[in-house]
C-alpha cells in the first residue's frame, strides 16, 4: 500500500487533481485506489465532492493530520489496509499541513499495516504567487510546504500567461532546489501523466 500526499496551500487545486489522478491510477479498476481527505473547518465539503466521484474515501475532520489528529490518520491508514488493502492511497492534507509531518504521521500506521510512504507532491497555485509568498505569516507556511516537496507541481497553468511560468518556477526553486518542478493543469490534463507515473513508480 503506497501512500502519496497531494499537498499545497488552500485553493491550489488539490481536490480536483486528486480526483483526476485517482481515476488515472485506478485505470478502470485495474488497481485499487483509496483516498483520504483532511479538512479543517469542521465540514468535509471536499470529501463529499470526492464521494460523488465514486471512490473509496475516508474523510478526517476535527483538525489537521500533520498535528492535531495525526494519530487518527495513522489509524485510518491501518483501517484502510485491513478493510480494502488498496494498492495506492492518495492523501489530501489540509491546505495548511506541513508535508514532512504528514509523512511522519503516516509512518505511525506501519506497525499494523504494510505500507510505504511515498512522495510528497506539493502544489503551488500559479495564479497567485505574490499573494502566497510575499506575506509574512502566510509566506512562511507556504515556504515550509515548498521546502518539504519531493515534487513541486505548479498548478492552474491554463489560467496564467505562459510567459510567466518560468518566473514562477524560479521563485519556488529558491526554496527547494532538489525537487523536480512539473507544470500541471487539471483542466487541460497537462502534466498529469507525469504525476501519475511518479505515483505508480513509487518515486519519492
Amino acid at each position: 500500500m503506497e501512500i502519496t500526499q497531494i499537498a499545497g496551500f488552500l485553493g491550489c487545486g488539490k481536490t480536483t487533481l486528486l480526483l483526476k489522478l485517482a481515476e488515472m491510477i485506478a485505470d478502470g479498476g485495474k488497481r485499487k485506489v483509496a483516498l483520504i481527505v483532511n479538512e479543517i473547518g469542521e465540514i468535509p465539503v471536499d470529501g463529499k465532492i470526492i464521494e460523488e466521484g465514486g471512490m473509496t474515501m475516508k474523510d478526517i475532520g476535527g483538525g489537521c493530520i500533520c498535528c492535531e489528529v495525526a494519530v487518527t490518520f495513522g489509524k485510518t491508514l491501518v483501517g484502510l489496509y485491513k478493510q480494502f488493502n488498496p494498492d495506492f492511497v492518495l492523501v489530501e492534507p489540509t491546505g495548511v499541513a506541513i508535508p514532512h509531518q504528514v509523512k511522519s504521521a503516516a509512518k505511525m500506521g506501519m506497525r499494523d499495516a504494510k505500507l510505504t510512504v511515498g512522495a510528497a507532491i506539493v502544489l503551488f497555485d500559479a495564479t497567485r504567487p505574490a499573494e502566497l509568498l510575499d506575506m509574512d505569516m502566510l509566506g512562511n507556511l507556504v515556504v515550509n510546504q515548498l521546502k518539504d516537496a519531493d515534487y513541486l507541481a505548479i498548478s492552474k497553468i491554463d489560467a496564467v500567461d505562459p510567459s510567466e511560468l518560468e518566473g514562477i518556477a524560479n521563485r519556488v526553486k529558491e526554496y527547494n532546489e532538489t525537487a523536480e518542478v512539473i507544470f500541471i493543469s487539471a483542466f487541460t490534463g497537462e502534466g498529469l501523466d507525469q504525476l501519475a507515473k511518479i505515483i505508480l513508480d513509487g518515486e519519492g
Partner: protein
C-alpha cells in the same frame, strides 16, 4: 511506531501559528419561487463572494478558500472562491428547478479569528438570501448532510436531510 515527537504539536493545529481560522456551517434555504440551475449557481457564487468580501472587510489578509456544497432533491451544485480578486466558480447539475437548498459552507481564512470568520460567513449567507427573497429556515454549525439513500423518493430524501439537522441537535 514512529516516535511521536516527529509529529507536530498536537495541542493545537499547526495552522493557528499562521493565523488561519476555519468555520463550517450547514443551512437550509427556502424560496417561494422555484429556482433553476443557473439561478442556484448565481446565488451560490454571490454567497462565496459576499463572504470573501466581508472577511476582507474584517481584516483578513488572505482567503484560503471558501467552498460550498449544495444538495437538493435533484442534484448538487458546488461553488467556491480563493479570493475577491479571483472571482467565484460553480459546477454541478440540477435535473429540475427547486425551492429548497441544503447548503454546507466551509470558510478557511488567514488573518482574522474564528469568530470573525463565523460572522462574515453567516452575514454573507443572510445578505445574499435576503437579496434573492430566500429564507434561511435552519442554520446549524458543524453539521453536514451525510447519510443518504438516493433510491428513496424525493419526499423521503428531504426527510433524510431534515434528520441530519435533528441529529446535530441530539449531539449538542
Amino acid at each position: 511506531m514512529t516516535d511521536s515527537t516527529e509529529v507536530g504539536n498536537t495541542d493545537k493545529g499547526c495552522y493557528t501559528d499562521h493565523g488561519v481560522s476555519g468555520y463550517g456551517v450547514a443551512v437550509r434555504l427556502t424560496s417561494k419561487q422555484i429556482m433553476g440551475e443557473n439561478r442556484v449557481k448565481e446565488i451560490a457564487e454571490s454567497m462565496m463572494m459576499s463572504i470573501a468580501e466581508k472577511c476582507m472587510d474584517l481584516g483578513a489578509r488572505a482567503i484560503g478558500h471558501i467552498k460550498s456544497h449544495i444538495r437538493t432533491d435533484c442534484g448538487t451544485i458546488k461553488a467556491d472562491t480563493i479570493g475577491t480578486a479571483h472571482g467565484s466558480y460553480s459546477s454541478g447539475k440540477l435535473e429540475h428547478p427547486v425551492k429548497d437548498l441544503y447548503v454546507a459552507i466551509n470558510s478557511i481564512i488567514q488573518g482574522i479569528p474564528e469568530a470573525a470568520v463565523k460572522a462574515a460567513t453567516l452575514e454573507g449567507i443572510h445578505e445574499i438570501a435576503d437579496q434573492n427573497d430566500i429564507f434561511v429556515v435552519k442554520e446549524k454549525e458543524h453539521t453536514y448532510f451525510d447519510e443518504f439513500d438516493f433510491l428513496m423518493s424525493k419526499e423521503e430524501h428531504q426527510q433524510q436531510l431534515e434528520d441530519q439537522f435533528k441529529a446535530g441537535d441530539e449531539k449538542e
